[in-house]
């Protein structure tokens, strides 16, 4: 469903991604790892139209590159952020409600309907907030939440669009081991037929537990792609991590 060919992203003299080709099949949970600065976030940014890129990206048969972020999101490709981005001045529930712009059942007149009145959407948003474990915080301002809860909110906000492709950028970043375990459990429930999940992570336990396939980036190049435990044993992958951190014991 997602086919990336020869994707390249440059920032001035720096090549953050070089000639990356990668496939993701429908319903698959694909892990993406790599040392710091290897281009994982850049890949997500290129896919979601945040940074300009060259190459070719096809998503369900349509070309993505060159489209604006809002068009891409409306096609069903939704992401979360490594460095948390929530609307801090809105409540948790409002954040989730607001994320429903341009979903298929939203019509133009809905723009002027009261956001307090479209009961079905509200109920759905509330359910999702409960599903990610924020039921008690639904009416709190998002900016007041602790980091782990904000990550959960990002997840709820992504799910409300019922994405066909979900891109998670370090969903357990900055979390304690206990919080990480909970988050892992939560992500495990997200994959379903018709939805592909790509998880960027540094924590191998999370990756190995969740992913059916693993891709490794190093200095902007794809150096491995395959079955997780096998990939982690490859010398090139171990070498990429040497001097920074070992992929296996993290």
């Amino acid at each position: 469903m997602l086919a990336i060919d020869g994707l390249t992203v440059r920032f001035g003299g720096l090549t953050a991604l070089e000639d990356v080709s990668l496939r993701a099949a429908e319903g698959e949970v694909l892990g993406l790892i790599g040392p710091n600065g290897s281009g994982k976030t850049t890949l997500i940014n290129a896919l979601t139209g945040v940074y300009p890129a060259t190459g070719r990206v096809r998503f369900r048969g349509a070309d993505l590159l060159g489209l604006s972020s809002e068009r891409i999101v409306r096609m069903g490709l939704v992401r979360t952020f490594q460095n948390l981005r929530v609307f801090r001045r809105m409540t948790v529930l409002e954040n989730v409600l607001a994320a429903q712009n341009g979903i298929p059942d939203m019509r133009l007149v809905d723009l002027l309907g009261s956001r307090h009145r479209d009961a079905a959407r509200r109920l759905r948003a509330r359910r999702l907030v409960e599903r990610v474990g924020l039921g008690g915080d639904a009416d709190r301002l998002a900016g007041e939440l602790p980091l782990a809860s904000q990550r959960r909110l990002e997840l709820a906000r992504a799910l409300v669009r019922d994405p066909a492709l979900l891109l998670l950028d370090e969903p357990s970043g900055g979390m304690t081991p206990a919080e990480t375990r909970e988050m892992t459990g939560l992500i495990a429930t997200l994959a379903c037929p018709g939805r592909t999940v790509i998880v960027v992570e540094h924590k191998m336990a999370l990756i190995v537990g969740l992913c059916t396939r693993l891709a490794v980036l190093n200095f902007g190049r794809l150096i491995a792609d395959g079955e997780p435990t096998e990939v982690l044993q490859r010398p090139a992958v171990i070498e990429a991590y040497l001097g920074t951190e070992s992929p296996v014991d993290a």
Binding site: G12, T41, V50, Y51, F81, N83, R85
Partner: protein, 299 residues
């Protein structure tokens, strides 16, 4: 053609004053990445301090100049503490608005202390003229041009040759990193502000001495001229400030000659608007602006 050349000379003359004003503006922007719209009024307050010294003690030129610079620095420090130091670093726009409302305060304060509005200021070289064949230039303008050139050299030396300059550049690149590296960012900022104000005081002194008078409206004039000149040259660029000042002066002088006084100001603002929308980095700051934008847009 002769008209045009004489206009350009006139333009360079007034442009030298604009350049001096733009230099202080650009210094503040360079360090803080924020705009101080009260820069002109702080200079105006300084010039009034000079006038007070002149009227009350019949002070000589040097003392008046010193009083002007001190006045500008004191008011500048007040602005720095209230509008910049006290406002969160990521809120550049709040600082700008704050400096605008403080402008009203300064202007009203000065008007209360100096109710007659127009006051005499001691002149220097006011009536002497230097001739180049058929063309002529006021000597005070020539002096201003020379001082603007010296100020650029002095600023460049200060920024690129001294320890203080290194600290200034560090704060301007990355305040967090500078703090971690042991730079006292608050002090550096205050001192940079004081430098800009002192430079502004000097500019204000020279301009007022050329005009031999001062009114509270000088603040508005100085802010707008300095701001436009800086924007034309590129916010944060030292050579850009001089180039922008001279460009603004020349365009204005020609517009005045060929189109009249209302049109002169109109054209200056049209130029500013065009630069902001088509090339917001100005003549010399486009690359720096693009780099900054890219850094800010990291996701």
């Amino acid at each position: 053609m002769a008209d045009f050349l004489q206009n350009c000379l006139d333009g360079i003359a007034i442009g030298a004053a604009y350049a001096l004003l733009a230099l202080g503006f650009t210094l503040i922007f360079g360090v803080l990445r924020r705009l101080n719209l009260s820069y002109g009024p702080s200079i105006m307050a300084g010039v009034f301090a000079g006038t007070a010294a002149y009227m009350a003690f019949n002070a000589g030129l040097a003392e008046v100049a010193i009083a002007t610079v001190i006045g500008a620095v004191v008011v500048g420090a007040y602005i720095e503490r209230l509008c910049f130091w006290a406002i969160r670093k990521d809120m550049a726009v709040a600082s700008m608005v704050s400096s605008f409302v403080i402008w009203m305060q300064i202007e009203e304060g000065v008007t209360l202390l100096f109710p007659d509005r127009t006051y005499a200021f001691p002149g220097i070289l006011a009536d002497s003229v230097v001739e180049f064949g058929p063309f002529f230039l006021r000597a005070s303008s020539l002096a201003m041009l020379a001082i603007a050139a010296l100020a650029v050299l002095g600023l460049l030396a200060l920024i690129y040759r001294t320890h203080f300059g290194l600290a200034v550049r560090a704060v301007s690149e990355n305040p967090e990193a500078a703090r971690v590296a042991g730079v006292n960012t608050g002090l550096v900022t205050l001192l940079a502000f004081a430098c800009a104000s002192a430079l502004g005081g000097l500019a204000g002194f020279l301009i007022a001495a050329g005009d031999q008078q001062i009114t509270p409206l000088f603040g508005l004039w100085a802010t707008f001229k300095g701001l436009i000149a800086m924007m034309l040259g590129g916010m944060g660029s030292i050579p850009g400030a001089v180039l922008g000042g001279l460009l603004l002066g020349t365009v204005e002088a020609n517009a005045l000659w060929y189109l009249g006084v209302e049109t002169r100001d109109l054209i200056a603002y049209m130029l500013l608007f065009a630069v902001l929308t088509f090339r917001p980095g100005g003549l010399m700051g486009q690359a720096a602006l693009m780099a900054r934008r890219a850094a800010e847009s990291r996701v």
